[in-house]
Symmetry: C2
């Protein structure tokens, strides 16, 4: 199986490392970041690639673009792991459309194209006899898409509730555990590398809302978008409110909820009892699926991280091989 990787940030490097350290029978024939690219039909030496990236910041020649790799490298699956642009979905959207049109499979961690164009991309893939998978867009290492498609096959999902943003969960956990104010906990999250310099996207609930839209559209085939989500972040959660909850055996978490029968699509801070399945600690994510047969199933795990996200990408690669490789 041959793959091309677009994006050589944390996730791209994680995927490359795993492919070079595990013998999964996957050859990388193309890579590109925003400034350079490399194509080798005989297989790129990943160790050398990562060393070059570390020392020069480039992954190949400055004359080769991501689109050159999409169009020119010999691959079965495009791994699109460039940074998310939630507004336009570009340039990932164009990369993905081009690869699908060429009859290639796509695996992505990029939320932009999926939140904007999931159904269009799926239709395009279906028309070409190919597929697009995006396990890594939601909840990092948690195999939620696999669980929805395979593990709970035959079930109807009635509603879902989730802790989908590790930064917010870290801040709330630290406020409760150490009596920090929101500002103090945010500062600590930045120092730990869990929050961006501009944390708006996370603390205002926007990141969680995007993931909620992706999950809801996947499960119910809807075409919801970000503006359909009622969003409140954690930036107005006071230490007083949190301590009051803790005194009563409860705590506060930023919960994303989708409950179509009650027309709810919402991200907001909620009071939960301390032993509620969604009360996870630190940067962990958690998702509860309410189903007609299996009842409530909760999955919990790391929501971010280079190798953790690579785990989701690799899972998608292997799923494509097992489903499409068989009848070739």
């Amino acid at each position: 199986m041959k793959v091309a990787i677009l994006g050589m940030g944390s996730v791209g490097k994680g995927v490359a490392s795993v492919l070079s350290s595990k013998d999964l029978g996957v050859m990388v024939t193309g890579v590109a970041d925003s400034r350079s690219g490399l194509i080798d039909p005989d297989g790129i030496n990943i160790g050398a690639l990562l060393a070059t990236k570390r020392s020069t910041g480039l992954c190949g020649s400055a004359g080769i673009t991501a689109m050159d790799v999409v169009r020119g490298a010999p691959y079965d699956i495009l791994i699109e792991v460039t940074p998310t642009d939630a507004v336009s979905g570009e340039p990932a959207l164009t990369h993905i459309r081009t690869a699908l049109t060429m009859g290639r499979h796509v695996v992505t961690s990029n939320k932009g194209p999926i939140v904007h164009a999931l159904h269009a991309l799926r239709s395009l893939a279906a028309s070409k006899g190919t597929s697009i998978r995006y396990e890594a867009t939601v909840a990092g290492a948690i195999p939620i898409m696999h669980t929805l498609a395979d593990g709970l096959a035959g079930n109807e999902v009635l509603a879902l509730y989730g802790v989908l943003n590790g930064t917010c969960n870290y801040i709330l956990t630290r406020m409760a555990a150490e009596g920090l104010t929101y500002e103090q906990a945010l500062l600590e999250a930045r120092e730990m590398g869990y929050a961006e310099a501009d944390p708006t996207y996370d603390v205002k609930g926007i990141d969680a809302a995007i993931k909620l839209v992706i999950l809801a559209n996947t499960i119910w085939g809807t075409s919801s978008c970000l503006k359909d989500v009622e969003v409140r972040g954690i930036d107005l959660v006071t230490l007083d409110a949190l301590q009051l909850a803790e005194d009563q055996g409860c705590t506060i978490r930023l919960i994303a909820e989708a409950d179509p029968s009650n027309r709810i699509l919402r991200v907001s801070p909620r009071i939960l009892r301390s032993r509620h399945p969604l009360v996870t600690e630190g940067t962990l994510n958690a998702i509860t699926l309410v189903t007609d047969l299996a009842g409530e199933i909760t999955l919990m795990g790391k929501g971010a991280g280079s190798v953790e996200t690579a785990s989701a990408i690799i899972g998608d690669l292997l799923a494509i091989r097992s489903r499409y490789g068989r009848c070739d």
Copy 2:
């Protein structure tokens, strides 16, 4: 897709009900319980079958045995959901061997054959180009086998920890929440239908140990058996010990653990902090997989129940159809 169902207890009735209420394209051509059987190549009317079972206790003619159904009904997949005999695995083991030898797939909730003969049955299935799936043997509705095979594909599982017995978890939850003694909580569990008249199998940790063996052999390809597990039950957990743990922000749970690098295969009551992911309430089950890429992934859900177990069976049926139906 045609199926035959052996066993018309809680699980068998649950499977039959789900197959009749959901349009999954599955036809039932044979059923049997311990006293009767029915074969109809044109498809059995499930509503009528369940009504007959309710009124007469039989599911068909007393002259038709389970083996008659295994040998004579036209089915693609045998659903073996007779009660577990943990000592011999019989009669399920013979039913399953016969069906696999005839080139049929098997889906089972029966722990007996799987704990005794997993690898032999898998080899037999492979030699016939068929398959055996047993999602329902461990942790009820939690899709743990799907997660191991598909969701976390590419990962190496390093260790696992689980709450695998709902009866014990219910007793410990009630002791902690209400200050009941072990004996009082056990009595309550019996009244609620969560514990058998003879609760030995559950409270001594044997049921959890059997499930642990099934998980460990599945993950690591080992051939462990029940006597390889160090087992301690919850019957010696005192209310005093539990309250002491609770006073320190902890609680006690019956934890099954497999950690091959430390040669651990054990079921025992363990003290966990209250917000530990495995601290679930009531009859819930939970499993944490420690992996090399995804880190720790925890799944939580109902460990028993007619429809919940049916969910696992249905998931296996659909997985077989999607994997073997494609190239026919």
